[in-house]
């Protein structure tokens, strides 16, 4: 075990996997930082510090800095993967999926199916996502709803440094395409990360972050911490919550959710995205279909409102879910009889 930040867990895992498997290739805007300048390559080393040192260690063929051309990055990741490489592409902000969705949704996701199972496309698309920096409407979005909908794509949302490591390693070694939604606000989060260079967390297995018998809270990414805080507060008042950290939203650990709701009969879902056709509604619909008999109360969802992400601190605060809002939803579901 070593204590490190979420961002370092990501960088180290990429580094180790590049060392282990020469097919692993990194590409993205400013992943080298300094190309074509007096300062030279690695003058900066990636704006998220998730690729620092890769260029120096692995050279320009395997660490490819790109122009501002997300469709070309995404498409090149697809082409690299079809050609036998294992690309790890960075789309600087998940919000930029708007300019490159086709290459993810209609290409990478569908190659294997359209080609009758005769191809593999082991591309990892890293997409720093989420709010918290007052970066406003075009640099703060959670896009789990879009990518979870896409057949052919696996979706990962790590909530801790250890998970960032174990899930990213799994993503790089996985033969299916993976969207890896790093939460920008968690980059500086510190935690213990296993040293084992083969530490992988299998997809589709949720983590029970807190255990309790009164209410089930389902969350992912940054929302897990909010749910944990709420659960800890509620525990002080004798209310016990299961906090289920999904880890991956596709595949989804249906069993973990359903088993918990069978015990608690009450469900609160926390989701950073706007509410319509969201991951929150997805989990709700699962439970309303498969655990209906266990439900004792309406399913509560704590989500962003149906609005873009606003800029001002007060507004972004009002926009985002919070431990207080989660706790209120838990209390609401408990009050129902």
């Amino acid at each position: 075990m070593a204590k490190m930040m979420y961002r370092d867990a990501i960088r180290n895992t990429i580094f180790q996997e590049m060392q282990r498997d020469e097919r692993v290739v990194v590409l993205g805007e400013d992943v080298v930082g300094g190309m074509g300048t007096a300062g030279g390559p690695e003058a900066i080393g990636g704006i998220w510090s998730t690729s620092t040192g890769l260029y120096d260690a692995f050279g320009p063929e395997r660490v490819i800095d790109t122009p501002i051309s997300e469709s070309a990055i995404m498409g090149a990741a697809g082409g690299l993967a079809l050609a036998g490489k294992r690309p790890v592409a960075e789309i600087m902000f998940a919000d930029f999926i708007g300019v490159c969705m086709d290459q993810l949704w209609n290409q990478i996701a569908k190659f294997r199916y359209m080609f009758g199972g005769k191809s593999i496309c082991p591309a990892v698309i890293r997409m720093p996502a989420g709010a918290g920096y007052n970066a406003a409407a075009q640099h703060s979005q959670m896009i789990s709803q879009f990518v979870t909908n896409m057949p052919g794509i696996k979706v990962v949302m790590p909530a801790t440094p250890a998970d960032a490591c174990g899930l990213l390693r799994q993503a790089i070694r996985d033969d299916d395409p993976v969207v890896f939604l790093e939460h920008k606000f968690l980059y500086a989060m510190s935690g213990e990360v296993p040293d084992d260079p083969d530490f992988c967390i299998p997809f589709g297995h949720a983590r029970l972050a807190r255990a309790g018998e009164d209410v089930t809270i389902v969350a992912s990414g940054m929302m897990v911490g909010y749910a944990e805080t709420a659960a800890d507060d509620l525990a002080q008042n004798g209310i016990g919550c299961d906090v289920i950290d999904l880890r991956t939203t596709s595949p989804l650990d249906e069993e973990a959710i359903l088993d918990s709701v069978e015990v608690t009969g009450r469900l609160v879902i926390v989701d950073e995205a706007p509410p319509r056709c969201s991951l929150a509604t997805d989990i709700s619909a699962l439970v309303a279909n498969k655990a209906f008999a266990s439900l004792k109360a309406p399913i509560e969802m704590v989500t962003a409102p149906h609005t873009p992400v606003p800029f001002a601190r007060e507004l972004e605060g009002a926009y985002l879910p919070s431990p207080v809002k989660v706790a209120a939803a838990v209390r609401k579901t408990l009050e129902y009889r």
């Binding site: 082409g79 199916y113 299916d176």
Partner: protein, 329 residues
Amino acid sequence: MQLNREALTRAYRQMKLIREFEERLHEEIQTGEIAGFTHLYCGQEAVAVGVCEHLTPRDKIVSTHRGHGHCLAKGCDVNGMMKEIWGSQDGLCNGKGGSMHIADLDKGMLGANGIVGAGAPIAVGAALSNKIDGPDEDGKLAISIAFSGDGACNQGTTFEAMNLAAVTKAPAIFVFENNHYSEHTGDAYAVGTSKDIASRAEAFGMKVWRADGTDFFAVYDCMREVLDYVRTPGNGPAAVEFDTERFFGHFEGDPQRYRGEGELDRLRATRDCIKKFRESVTGAKLLSDEDLDTIDADALDAIETAVQEARKAPRPQPENVLDNVYISY
């Protein structure tokens, strides 16, 4: 013309196979037996064959919605393709893809593509892979080719791909098949240029070539130069614009009212790459009419067999809808 008899025979056979494949589909589609959207390559055969005859399986191509010609030229199995177009479980893609999504990774054929302009970035990715793999014992790189039309050249992805290839010096070749129409719109309207499509590629700092796409030998000779250039490590990408013609509608069923009076007759008479090839090789006494007639007959046979096989090939079952979304899930 530096091609020997065998090479000429192979080139002609490939062109003819594509031609018959498409002519036959043109008929079959009218019976309603074939589902979906089909875009025929008839008229452009010299491009696919003139390009792909130079390639090895290590070289990759990425194709378009009008992909049959590229697929056949790159070595996809004619029966597997026909079965795919018929939607059979035994088709090259198990009936999942159909005409617009034929692929054969083992042959270096990375897929037809229903999204106009989507192929170019994928080809650059494949070219970056070629670059990582490095030169072979002869010091030459494997390369990757993006086929694009005069319509696709206006899609943002195509420009981004060209710039990315130029910046990374990826051994990619952008082959623009200018058949003068994107659907029902003329290139004279839709392609803003100072000169032509190649000149737009040139503005990214890459070397470009141009040739008559209805003349197999022009295509072939031009591609030899292009490939020689791009296979040389350090040179980076190149682009070629071929002036070519499509003989059928954009898709099957297109009334083609945008054509000029007698246009199709004129094209068939003066711009038919197969006719031109024939005249050229018989004129130069490289192959005889008899040689070519035999190939013609063989091609027709091959297509007849493919269609018969496709007709009786097993159909997918409803449960197959769930196959092959993921490798593991």
